[in-house]
């Protein structure tokens, strides 16, 4: 099998490049599974206590669409409800990112050519990428199972949860292996693979909310297989078998495609584009918009859908939060004023604000990747000042994240307005009131970019820190000043409560200050070369 020559070397290279990100991602997934189970065990002392909360979850179509059916009306079943689908999606995404990164991205950037000219077989890059991704998926499943065992719940169910992640991750590895053969671009391969993942999600969401025979549709989706494992319920561990078979088939298809194409090309030829630049493209703003519009469109669609789903849950919030403990948890997370429904929306909007901050950070970090790649230099050697170049990307980061908040506020308001007394008038201002905290995150990204450009991506760590402070800070009984380090701690309690105007103004001032320092530092520093 000379076509596999060099696989081991490539695998070690891949591991050398990605070991930290792989370890961190796997640990984050494991911690989420553990944390979710531990928090649920705290919330419900017994299965009997869990039953009332469980019944509301079973009845709510929005929750079922998002998380799948409840595996069983036990504490452990509730404890893995979110982990089953979110863990499946996250594991699948990790597998996708690893396979694509070590196949198509390497080919597109021309690095694979360097290696392929050496003693590296034609199949080796794909084999190495598959090995890295599948080992990562197996480690995720195994460690998640072990972490759940540590909470003292049923052992078979714990391994079933591991199997859920393995099923989703493994099949996605195969899906990505095929996708990267089809197009010549990293972005195109990503579109296909994520499109398949999205389709799998929609098929199972539709099937789960359907009645009668429609429910069998879920078997068409590999995410459907993952949820049908049903940890702490039916415990169908054998579903790993069809997942392995499907993965093997997908790999065989990818392998066949691999032998029908040239290095660097895809099965589908790249299409030509316009020979002339549109008039809009003549300014740095036009360029930044052109580079960022696709991502903003994707996020907008995602946020509109999330808004509709969350708004729709309004009809059954009172049932879900039947237990005073759940109610207290929601109140604590949202600022604690207003009705229970207000508390529910306050909580969800804060989660979505973190998502909008992630969009803002990713968008602002484009500055760094443009600078690093040398494309910033091309633009800055024209009569575009450093301020304008910064502003061109920053405006999209700032305005784009506020736009996403507005989208989710309107979508949730429209959906909730049809089933409850809360509507756009309440939810749009509440969503927008989180904007100052989001803008602080964007400003901090610029601060890092200006002062310590090599550490720009630490903006992600800062955001993660804010989330940890918000999620676990109160549980760990951290002092108030420590909690206050997170901008999300200074939001008011909208809808239904005090907007904390002083806090919001303070956040805006902080955002403006850090952004100004970052911009000034950038103006004064060397461009990376």
């Amino acid at each position: 099998m000379t076509s596999l020559a060099g696989t081991g070397t490539l695998l070690r290279l891949a591991w050398r490049r990605d070991r930290w990100i792989v370890v961190a991602s796997v640990l984050a997934l494991v911690a989420t599974a553990y944390g979710s189970m531990a928090a649920t065990l705290d919330l419900y002392p017994s299965d009997a206590a869990a039953a009332s909360g469980a019944s509301a979850m079973v009845d709510n179509p929005s929750l079922t669409a998002l998380y799948g059916p409840l595996p069983s009306a036990t504490v452990a079943g509730i404890g893995v409800l979110k982990t089953v689908m979110m863990g499946s999606l996250a594991t699948a995404f990790l597998a996708f990112a690893l396979v694509r990164r070590h196949t198509r991205s390497e080919e597109e950037d021309g690095r694979l050519e360097l290696l392929a000219a050496g003693v590296v077989g034609r199949r080796a890059p794909l084999a190495a990428a598959f090995a890295l991704a599948s080992l990562t998926v197996l480690a995720t499943g195994l460690l998640s199972a072990l972490s759940l065992l540590a909470t003292g719940v049923d052992a078979v169910g714990s391994f079933a949860l591991g199997a859920v992640e393995v099923v989703a991750g493994l099949v996605m590895t195969g899906v990505t292996a095929v996708a990267v053969q089809l197009t010549s671009t990293t972005r195109g391969a990503g579109g296909i693979a994520i499109g398949v993942l999205g389709l799998a999600f929609v098929i199972r969401a539709t099937a789960d909310t359907a009645t009668g025979a429609g429910q069998d549709l879920a078997w068409l989706s590999f995410l459907g297989w993952a949820e049908k494992v049903s940890p702490y319920g039916a415990n169908r561990l054998w579903l790993v078998v069809p997942a392995v078979v499907a993965t093997a088939l997908l790999l065989a298809v990818a392998d066949a495609l691999l032998h029908r194409r040239d290095l660097g090309s895809g099965l589908w030829a790249a299409r030509p584009g316009p020979a002339r630049g549109a008039a809009r493209l003549g300014t740095p703003y036009g360029l930044a918009w052109r580079l960022q519009r696709g991502s903003l469109l994707g996020w907008t669609i995602g946020y509109a859908v999330l808004g509709l789903v969350i708004g729709n849950i309004a009809s059954s919030v009172d049932q879900i939060a039947d237990s005073p403990d759940v109610e207290e948890m929601l109140r604590k997370m949202s600022g604690g004023q207003g009705s229970l429904l207000d508390a529910f929306f306050g909580t969800e909007l804060r989660f979505l604000a973190v998502g909008a901050a992630a969009y803002g950070i990713a968008t602002a970090l484009r500055l760094r990747s443009e600078e690093n790649a040398g494309r910033g230099e091309i633009v800055l050697a024209t009569p575009v000042s450093r301020w304008r170049w910064l502003a061109s990307h920053l405006v999209i980061a700032g305005a784009g994240s506020v736009w996403l908040l507005a989208v989710v506020g309107v979508a949730a308001g429209v959906a909730a307005g049809s089933v409850s007394t809360t509507g756009v008038a309440e939810l749009l201002p509440a969503a927008l009131a989180t904007a100052p905290a989001v803008l602080v995150c964007v400003g901090l990204t610029l601060l890092l970019f200006g002062l310590v450009p090599r550490l720009s991506t630490a903006a992600w760590a800062v955001l993660a820190e804010f989330v940890v402070l918000g999620e676990f800070g109160a549980l760990l009984s951290l002092p108030g000043w420590a909690l206050g380090l997170s901008p999300f701690d200074h939001l008011g309690s909208l809808p239904g409560g005090d907007p904390n105007a002083a806090g919001l103004v303070g956040l805006l001032v902080v955002a403006a200050l850090v952004a100004a320092v970052g911009a000034t530092a950038f103006r004064r520093r060397d461009l990376a070369t």
């Binding site: 597109e108 010549s184 671009t185 972005r187 790249a270 030509p272 584009g273 316009p274 020979a275 002339r276 630049g277 549109a278 493209l281 003549g282 300014t283 740095p284 036009g286 360029l287 052109r290 580079l291 790649a373 040398g374 494309r375 230099e377 091309i378 633009v379 800055l380 050697a381 024209t382 009569p383 575009v384 000042s385 450093r386 004064r524 520093r525 060397d526 461009l527 070369t529």
Partner: protein, 308 residues
């Protein structure tokens, strides 16, 4: 008239590495100035300082009479830059990038744009990700040559171009010079500078080691004479003639390295031995360059520490 580019005693350090170590550079209006040096000599660093992308740690620099760091934006209206390694946006076509750069520089000459695309045989509908290195270079060159600016800054512009395209590049460079525009042309491809440059500065280890017209610099070098003789001549004998730097026998020929001023005398002496065949090569920049570079191999210049 003030020079277009004037740098005096430029220093630039990256951490503990000294990239520029007291570099002086003068480029006059309307000249094509060759900026020669081996890889890592500081050519690109100098250019980035001139573009205001890097700050200097010491020395003074003016571009068109202004400070390139403080007045970067204003100065960039008057220049076009082609980086040594052109990186394009993967999802923008070459045509889009040419128009973008042209518009950012304040307009593009439509006629010339079309002409250049044809001359360079560049397909403007391909996306940045599918261009080869040579084609990416062409995109930046078309954008630069089609811009109506008085100064062109070209950093190893022909890297990746095939010989045919290099010729097209030389033609357009000649046209730019005929129009009276100023060009700073960095290169380690010496022949390209030799045909195009009015003056040359040679940079090594962050310093200019020689600067002048090609004629000026040729005085420093030797003409190579290779002769096939009827009556044999020992290399040791020819080596003793005035003006002969070195002599060696190469099968039936004798190869001499001669000071340019002594070529006439040497030819007469060779004539006495009955010349059957003769080749006489003028000193190339290659030799000039090697003579400068050889110094670094035999006599590494001590680096002065520059106070930060």
């Amino acid at each position: 008239m003030a020079p277009v580019i004037e740098a005096v005693g430029l220093t630039k350090k990256f951490g503990t590495t000294t990239a520029l170590d007291g570099l002086d550079l003068t480029v006059h209006e309307g000249e094509v100035h060759g900026f020669l040096g081996p890889n890592g000599a500081g050519k690109s660093t100098t250019i980035r300082v001139l573009l205001g992308l890097l700050r200097t740690d010491g020395g003074t620099v003016t571009l068109l009479g202004r400070d390139p760091w403080a007045d970067a934006t204003e100065l960039h209206r008057q220049l076009a830059y082609v980086p040594g390694d052109v990186v394009l946006w993967p999802n923008l076509t070459g045509g889009e990038v040419i128009d973008l750069l042209g518009r950012l520089r304040g307009g593009i000459d439509e006629g010339r744009r079309a002409e250049l695309l044809e001359a360079f045989e560049l397909d403007p509908t391909k996306k940045g990700r599918s261009y080869s290195k040579g084609n990416r270079q062409k995109v930046a060159l078309v954008a630069a040559f089609a811009s109506d600016v008085p100064l062109l800054v070209l950093d190893e512009p022909t890297s990746g171009l095939d010989p045919l395209m290099e010729k097209v590049f030389q033609e357009h460079l000649a046209r730019v010079r005929a129009e009276g525009r100023t060009v700073l042309l960095s290169s380690h491809i010496l022949s390209e500078v030799e045909t195009a440059a009015d003056r040359v500065s040679i940079v090594r280890a962050g310093r200019i080691v020689d600067s002048g017209t090609l004629a000026d610099l040729r005085h420093l070098t030797r003409t190579s004479i290779s002769a096939s003789l009827a009556r044999p001549l020992a290399g040791s004998e020819a080596g003793g003639w005035p003006g002969v730097d070195s002599a060696r026998e190469d099968r039936d020929r004798i190869v001499l390295s001669v000071e340019t001023s002594a070529v006439g005398d040497v030819l007469q002496r060779l004539g006495a031995h009955g010349i059957e065949a003769l080749t006489c090569q003028p000193p190339t920049l290659e030799e000039l360059f090697l003579s400068q570079y050889r110094d670094t191999l035999t006599d590494p210049a001590p680096r002065e520490e520059v106070p930060a």
